[in-house]
Amino acid sequence: MAAVKETVDQVLSIDVDKYKYGFVSDIESDLAPKGLNEDIVRFISAKKDEPEWLTEWRLEALRRWQTMEEPTWARVDYPPIDFQDLHYYAAPKKTTGPKSLDEVDPALLDTYKKLGIPLKEQEILAGVEKGERPVAVDAVFDSVSVVTTFKAELAKHGVIFCPISEAVRTHPELVRKYLGSVVPITDNFYATLNSAVFSDGSFVYVPKGVRCPMELSTYFRINEKKTGQFERTLIIADEGAYVSYLEGCTAPSRDENQLHAAVVELIALDDAEIKYSTVQNWYPGDSEGKGGVFNFVTKRGDCRGKNAKISWTQVETGSAITWKYPSCILRGDNSRGEFYSIAISNGRQQVDSGTKMIHLGKNTSSKIISKGISAGRSSNTYRGLVSVGRKASGARNFTNCDSLLIGNKCGAHTVPYIESKNASAIVEHEATTSKISDDQLFYCLQRGLPQEEAIALIVNGFVKDVLQQLPMEFMVETQKLIGISLEGSVG
């Protein structure tokens, strides 16, 4: 027992101030004036040289947003956000749009290098020779995409991977057909805000029957002060296509809060599969709860075709506040949805996250594995919905939500909603909440492990089912991140 007490104290005493991506890059920015109105929306649209229909689409969203109220149902508590005191557009000055690497500001390349994201294809290919798999990266810095790697290689396979602002120009028919078709502009307060002011993000289209030859990845970085980041990601897997996509995020340590309200839409047609992984490591604020990113994100996938599959994997270690429910609409018969989540909160972080599995088609199946770890004075809530419609005969769901508490100043909450309107559907839900097992801890200590390492080890074991879902390259990174998130010194 004494060992547990000491460990708990130790974890409590650890600062979350050891965020290692907290540096600021000194890069001159092009900023929109603060505030949000029709002029700002037109400004953003004009900056991106958008067609009239998109400007109108944004303005319609803005008008809708002006009538909406911020949602209050989540178990998160934060001071009111002054939406007029933010910049809705920030772009590194020297970049007018990603062209070739040679034209990119070296300071930007340096920033990504420091973050461990190489953007030079030669460097990546050097890694390939050492046995690493190549990953195509779209690097988004504040409001714009600065570079997208391996575009030519992907194009050979017919895969389109580019900033969404570019796709609007080069593939308007695809963007117009799918944008807002999963998350409509009326969806919710933050998604509607995003629709009005979204800046950049990635666009992926994998044509019929193509298995995307490499992992795709977008790396988001907030740098500028007092900015909101509103990226928009749209991924379409046409019939029989497959794509695996990874998203990573960091932000500098700043005293004020930064707002991040992204929208991600996934569309999987007949027999297609999309695997979407996120390692979210936005700045969480300091141990007193000062600063940090407000992460209000709407992510939704639509299994529009039969036998389609969408799988979400998320590792949430950052942000002061996380409000995020990656969901699957299982519309096509035999379609499958998966949600694997690790949410770690420490310090004063507040997480309210989970998923929605909406079963509409016949023989649809879904699986939810959620592992929440709360430490410090944080609050960690799993909120999820499993809904089986009248026509979803033969639907299956299995849900497992486990929570682990480290110390008694934090909270772990589980709020599942289960709605079944079909007798042939089977829905199973199980959840547990407990602390780190004394016996496991004692066993590790007896074998000579220091306490903090023992905790990291046990927590890694606790989240193993989810870790295994991550692409190999990120699994090791994530294991380390878990150690850092919990202790700051281990790893």
Binding site: N408, E419, S420, A423, H429
Partner: protein, 440 residues
């Protein structure tokens, strides 16, 4: 932003009834003040609807079509000849007919030492300080619509006290009967206090002699004293036309042992609410229930348990069988504050859907602030298992009989926890009756 919605007929009836009745309802000026506050809350917000989280799956505003007038005096002759809901037990029956305690119909012979029984209406009229204090509820509970309506309109009920150390051997049965036409409303409140180390089995039956849209609202408060043992069972048996709102408020003191069982077998719209709290350490409690639905009935069981003290153990088990176009709702919340270390809570809910049109909703929630706890919940929903059915059929048992056996087995897990044999048998008898009606 939120526009004031148009008042529904039920809300209009409420608004008309209360001012007309407030001074004729039993109680001193202090009681009227409590009633006014309760009614004022409901009047301001209107009836709760699906956007109010606690009523998400039971939209009272949409479902409550009317709020009929207060019940008049019951016809004693009809009550005397009515068959008891639980046969063959030795319970002491206390009759509440049309919202009024009827001592002349009740069994008050040879009250055990330490057991006292008197009318709530009398206590309210007398301004009994202890009773008045007991009417005060935690804000969250008091504001609950069913509770507030009970506070505003309560006409009577029983004040039952079991003295320290008294072991009341005979179960006490509170028989609620609605009688007469047209449809009427009743609101009854019971205050039950079980002293240190005392024992009590309390049975409640709620029924109606007429198939009209009676609305009953029964609120029972039970104080389970230190080391006391209380077994509470409620059989809710009204006809399909009826609306049944019941609330149990239980406070469980240290080392006490409390079990409550709710059988939702009747009423077209039924909501059973349980607000329970562990107020002292080392206590144990069981919360269980069954729901059997057919036709277009709707039954909601909403449990809120505050594991407010160290080293308490609770088990929650709710099972629902849903046929026809019926809908079952279970919402259970277990909250563990930071100081309640060594909490052990296991909540389970399971629904069996027997028809294409049936629906089940569940929201089993955990809210945990203490780290040294073992808490879990489970929820399942599905049809009768094909493999189990096939095994029974392969031995020659007919489909209808096999299904009945499996439904009974499914419910049995909860029912078999009932300690009182007479109630257990009465319940099994009702379940079998339901299964026979289904098979026919």
């Amino acid at each position: 932003m939120v526009a004031t919605p148009v008042r529904t007929p039920a809300e209009q009836a409420l608004a008309a009834r209360y001012p007309a009745e407030r001074t004729s309802l039993p109680g001193t000026a202090d009681v009227i003040a409590i009633r006014d506050a309760a009614f004022g809350g409901v009047d301001r917000t209107g009836l709760p609807h699906r956007r109010v989280e606690d009523w998400k799956y039971t939209d009272l505003r949409a479902r409550l079509k009317t709020f009929p007038p207060a019940a008049g005096a019951a016809d004693v002759a009809r009550i005397l000849i009515a068959a008891p809901a639980v046969e063959g037990d030795k319970a002491r029956r206390l009759v509440i007919a049309n919202g009024r305690y009827r001592p002349e119909l009740s069994d008050l012979k040879d009250l055990e030492p330490g057991l006292s029984v008197f009318s709530l209406a009398t206590a309210l009229e007398a301004g009994d300080a202890v009773v008045l204090a007991a009417l005060k509820l935690d804000d969250g509970i008091a504001a609950n619509t069913a509770v507030a309506l009970n506070t505003a309109f309560m006409t009577d009920g029983l004040v039952i006290t079991v003295a320290e150390g008294a072991e009341v051997a005979r179960p006490v049965e509170l028989v609620h009967i609605a009688e007469g036409e047209p449809a009427a409303s009743t609101a009854v409140r019971h205050l039950v206090t079980v002293g240190k180390g005392a024992r009590l089995t309390l049975i409640e039956t709620i029924e109606s002699l007429d198939t009209v849209a009676h609305q009953s609202n029964v609120l029972t408060m039970i104080e389970v004293g230190e080391g006391a043992k209380v077994d509470h069972i409620r059989l809710q048996l009204e006809p399909d036309e009826a609306v049944s709102l019941t609330t149990l408020v239980a406070r469980i003191d240290r080392e006490a042992n409390f079990d409550t069982f709710n059988a939702a077998l009747g009423a077209g719209l039924a909501r059973a609410q349980i607000f329970a709290e562990f107020a002292g350490r080392d206590a144990e409690a069981g919360f269980r229930g069954i729901t059997m639905l057919s036709g277009r009935r709707h039954a909601d069981t909403t449990l809120s348990l505050v594991h407010g003290a160290e080293n308490c153990q609770s088990r929650e088990l709710y099972k629902a069988v849903i046929d026809g176009e019926a809908r079952s709702v279970f919402a259970g919340r277990i909250a563990v504050p930071a100081h309640a270390q060594k909490t052990d809570a296991r909540m389970m809910t399971a629904s069996l859907l027997l028809s294409e049109e049936a629906e089940a909703d569940a929201k089993p929630e955990l809210e945990i602030f203490a780290d040294d706890v073992q808490c879990g919940h489970g929820a399942t929903c599905g049809a009768i298992d094909d493999d189990l059915l096939f095994y029974l059929l392969s031995r020659g048992i007919s489909k209808v009989e096999a299904e009945s056996m499996l439904i009974l087995a499914f419910l049995g897990e909860a029912i078999d926890e009932i300690q009182n044999q007479a109630v257990h048998d009465a319940l099994i008898h009702r379940v079998e009756g339901w299964l026979k009606a289904r098979a026919a």
